[in-house]
Amino acid sequence: MNCTEARELFDMHLDGALEPTVSASVKDHLQGCSSCQAAYRAMQVESQLLKQALQAEVSSATEIARIEARVRKTVRPEGHVIADLGEWAVPVLGTVLGLLALVGGRFDGAAVRDAVCLSLNPRGGLPVAIPSVLVVALVLLTVITLQSFIFRTGEQD
């Protein structure tokens, strides 16, 4: 390895980004070349200066406090487990339960088809009797969903 080749690799050698065999070749060259040793030392100094400068804090306490307040305003307080279910989980679950309620607790495809047909034809009256348990679940989920969306909208203001 000559001086030009070695100096081309100084950056990566300094950063520990060379293959071990290539790194060993650079080291070998450095041991026997005083001018490259001087150039390498200069790059080590530069590297330290860059670390000092680019690691220096540039924020003020006011800025950090302001960001923390904004984060607090945005994230949900503990206890809002509903948020962790994801934005769509609750509405989807509510819709599925609602459909199940509409078909009166029957889960076969024919029941769904009948229920949809009856719903589209008001003269047919209400499709089927809705089991009270599913109604309660549906209402609860609707309330929770609405509360969840209202809460989130308020936080983002």
């Binding site: 990566m12 200069a42 530069e46 400068a53 690691q55 540039v58 950090i64 960001i67």
Partner: protein, 179 residues
Amino acid sequence: MNVKIDQETVEQFKSGDDEAFSRIFRTCAPVLFGTAIRILGDRGLSEDVVQEAFVRLYRMRGRLEPNKSVGALLVRIAANLAIDMVRKRKREKWESLEPEAVETKPTAPPIDAKIGTVDAINRAAGTLPPIYRTVLVLRYGHEMAYEEIADVLEISVSAVALRLKRGKEQLRAALARQR
């Protein structure tokens, strides 16, 4: 740059401890702000980046992998957010700056202590194109390995090496102009 969070604090945060979240915030926020502002060069946008990074961390707290550094994760999120903002703002074609497309510039001598003060370097870094600022911040600001930087920026390791080289050359030239 120290963004190490002890495992106990991480576990407390994962189990919903608000105070643990505050500790993580106080430790990491100044570092993330430094990263964002050095990439974006805008204090307001940097605040947005830091806020969004913590909001995302908060929302993924239940899915944090054990033994993975929360600090490193936050840096990745913030860096990516800042980079996305730069891309949107300036509509830069980052891909076109892959190694073969970059012109060779004359090499200035390495930065020495006479011209390389903290302020001077930060000022000069602010004048560089974002692609160079970003790799310099990730490498020297966070001491990330080339592979990690490549992963964050979604470029090859050789592209990272080249951008670092070009970035330093441009930084040296900018500092020389400041003299």
